[in-house]
């Protein structure tokens, strides 16, 4: 985890060296949120990704450091699902809104049946994925890759965001103008999907309660390939479900695994000219 002070007015984050050079190549890095993620949470998740990336950047390859990485959020609206979850939690468990918001990311208070009823549909049913959102995501990638931007694109989706990313990726190469497949890479986190397109990478924790619950009914989803070690996060109300994106980027070895996959993908992208 990054060695940041708890509070310091002087903890100014340094700009990426390559971003000081107008001629340096640009790479767009998109975060795509999952199903229980409000807009505020999505912004914080994208911020965590940027912070951890910047913390690791000095140790990454010269090819990666030569790029200026510009971070974006491709929001996957989930207010309807969160509201359904809130109503179900209040009706079935009698918990207060305050408790709900404290426990939302951790999933600790919620019964397996509640999780299954409220979340497994949106997490597994491709028919419940919003077509307009997929179009918007795909258009955002296309805009970055096409002239005049000519940027490489890295997508880091979390949870249900993996399903949106897979669908947007397919759309990118099924509608003209067709983009170069080598100019976009995916590093999935906590994925309920069965594949990562474009030979992309992914990390799912063995202690991810939500993905493990989905695996019971969908055994073909990608197997777990990382974990949170003995992180105290697994004992905290906000992260105990092992599914939080912030948790994935705080606990070890999942944090290092995800960042290693990101570096590997950025290395591959660095050899590509999108235009």
């Amino acid at each position: 985890m990054a060695a940041w002070p708890l509070e310091s007015a002087h903890a100014q984050i340094a700009p990426q060296p390559a971003c000081q050079t107008a001629s340096a190549p640009r790479t767009a890095v998109f975060f795509v949120n999952g199903v229980t993620t409000t807009l505020d949470e999505a912004r914080l998740n994208a911020g965590k990704l940027e912070l951890e990336f910047l913390n690791q950047l000095p140790a990454m390859s010269r090819a990666v450091q030569a790029n200026c990485h510009v971070f974006f959020l491709n929001y996957n609206p989930t207010a309807g699902e969160v509201n359904d979850f809130l109503e179900a939690a209040q009706q079935q468990l009698g918990i207060t809104p305050t408790t709900f918001w404290l426990e939302l990311e951790g999933l600790g208070l919620f019964t397996p049946q509640l999780i299954r009823d409220a979340l497994q549909g949106p997490m597994t049913d491709l028919n419940r994925i919003d077509a307009a959102t997929i179009q918007r995501h795909s258009a955002a990638y296309r805009e970055q890759m096409a002239s005049p931007s000519c940027r490489r694109v890295l997508v880091v989706p979390h949870s249900q965001g993996n399903l949106y990313t897979n669908a947007a990726y397919d759309l990118l190469f099924n509608q003209p103008p067709i983009q170069s497949p080598s100019a976009i890479r995916i590093v999935g986190v906590a994925t309920p999907a069965q594949t990562v397109p474009g030979n992309g990478l992914y990390r799912t924790s063995t202690t991810d309660a939500l993905i493990n619950a989905i695996r019971v009914i969908r055994p073909a989803i990608l197997p777990s390939d990382t974990n949170w070690g003995i992180s105290p996060l697994l004992l905290s109300a906000s992260y105990s479900g092992g599914h939080s994106f912030i948790g994935y980027l705080s606990a070890e070895p999942s944090r290092t695994d995800v960042l290693t996959d990101i570096e590997s993908s950025l290395n591959a992208l660095s050899a590509i000219n999108p235009c």
Binding site: M1, A2, W4, P5, L6, E7, S8, A9, A11, Q12, I13, A14, P15, Q16, C19, T38, L39, D40, A42, R43, L44, A46, G47, K48, E50, L51, L54, V70, F71, F72, L73, N74, Y75, P77, A79, G80, V82, N83, L86, Q90, T96, P97, T98, T99, F100, W101, L102, E105, T133, R136, A140, S236, S238, I246
Partner: protein, 152 residues
């Protein structure tokens, strides 16, 4: 934790303190009470000042007030699509300020505050209704090296 909320509601809702029993949070309006008109609901203000006292944690205190203020107008204007998009930008700037001030634990700090801000079903519903008006394509992000500039 709920005790703080109940206490705060009781202190700020009863004017002269005419009752020993605070009204249930579920009976409060979405806006609640902001007696000093600073844009932060009074019970939330009590939580922030108690948990992050000034001057020891002045930067965090100010960042959380910015987050709470942005959430407050977001809930109040939740039925207005254009205002929801505008307020989303204010929320993003406030969150970027918080990340600049608390890079190690901004998420936990945020989660604890949000639980106090959205302490009724009506407030939670309004917050989610506002989210429904927004797609992030409308709200650009500041790069991390500029987050501190988002602090008011």
């Amino acid at each position: 934790m709920m005790g703080i909320v109940w206490l705060a509601v009781g202190l700020t809702s009863c004017g002269g303190g005419s009752s020993d029993t605070p009204p249930p949070a579920t009976q409060e309006t979405v806006a609640g009470i902001d007696a000093n008109g600073d844009g932060v609901r009074d019970d939330v203000e009590v939580y922030i000042d108690t948990t992050y006292p000034v001057p020891a944690q002045r930067d965090t205190n100010r960042a959380l007030r910015q987050v709470a203020s942005a959430a407050q107008v977001t809930m109040i204007d939740a039925s207005d699509s254009a205002r929801s998009v505008s307020h989303a930008a204010e929320r993003f700037r406030a969150l970027e300020c918080l990340m600049a001030r608390r890079p190690a634990d901004f998420h936990l700090v945020f989660v604890e505050l949000r639980a106090r801000v959205l302490n009724t079903t009506a407030r939670s519903a309004a917050y989610l209704q506002a989210d429904n008006h927004v797609t992030a394509g409308n709200v650009p992000l500041l790069p991390a090296d500029q987050w501190v500039s988002a602090c008011l």
